[in-house]
Symmetry: C2
Subunit: 181 residues, 2 copies
């Protein structure tokens, strides 16, 4: 019964979705099952405990469910505090650690920025994202130059894949900046 202080990828997904409109746990499940957001997570044994934790943190609250029947439904909406938390989370600078270990998280942060943080911050995020990737790609290339003579064929190809993936992400970010302006 510890309060959640940071946002796991799943919690971010949940809070982001609820920030767009009030949802029940079942609604969230459906989103995860039927959209590419399901990438990031899966199902009931994770979602309901996460909802509980987020509610205990004060970021969402359950509201009376006035559907047409008195069927058991718990609808959650975001609180002012939750919105602020989300804004702060999405405004965090992009660190090199993020780029190395949490690319999924970064992409999710970006996906929820509409209407939560201004266009200016969104663009700044993409700029930071691109330049952190550039730095990381430079590291990877440095390592690769030294190691490619001893790497086996598949290892080498796997590394090339990694480098290309990062480069593609940087290119995407720069295109996205232009598109947002």
């Amino acid at each position: 019964m510890k309060l959640e202080t940071d946002l796991s990828t799943l919690s971010l997904a949940i809070l982001g979705l609820i920030s767009q409109r009030p949802l029940t746990g079942y609604d969230l499940r459906k989103v995860f099952l039927t959209t590419p957001m399901g990438h990031f997570s899966s199902s009931p044994g994770a979602i309901y405990p996460a909802l509980r934790r987020i509610e205990e943190a004060g970021w969402i609250r359950s509201v009376a469910a006035q559907g047409q029947t008195r069927r058991q439904r718990v609808v959650y909406e975001i609180t002012a505090c939750g919105l602020e938390t989300l804004q702060q989370h999405l405004s965090r600078p992009v660190t090199s650690e993020d780029v190395v270990w949490h690319m999924d998280d970064l992409m999710m942060r970006f996906a929820f920025m509409d209407g939560i943080v201004g266009r200016e911050r969104t663009v700044r995020f993409l700029e930071d994202f691109a330049s952190q990737i550039d730095a990381h790609v430079a590291d990877l290339r440095r390592y690769f130059e030294g190691a490619k003579s001893i790497l086996p064929a598949c290892g080498k190809l796997a590394m090339e894949n990694g480098i290309q993936s990062y480069e593609m992400n940087a290119q995407w970010a720069r295109r996205a900046i232009k598109e947002l302006q």
Copy 2:
């Protein structure tokens, strides 16, 4: 004290590295700290328990450490059973679930194929990989066509990033096939 039956990403990394040459836990740590393999994992609280589990499964065994001093060192080498397990794991077909949820794992499987599974199987892996990605990209595009009118700008851009990432991976796989032949 359950026996490990499947390979977590970390366990696969460890078993794959030890299959290349005998290593200590500390050696593994250094690899994770100093090479891009560190992407997939991190450190001592994960590595040592994982080594223990893999040893209990019978896939590696500790051998006498005959360094120049009698310093405490535990060197692990792969067993025949471990090699077989690794071969089977790397030979598993690429499923659509793998592509949706475990791309990291797939890339790691590929990176360790040299000398473990034949070139033929390696190429087959890449072919399956590419065609599973094609199928998944088709799904994503289908969803995207239906949703892009209601997706917010950042959501749309994030989806485009996802699709492009997958497409890049399929292209990479097809280039890799040519290079391996």
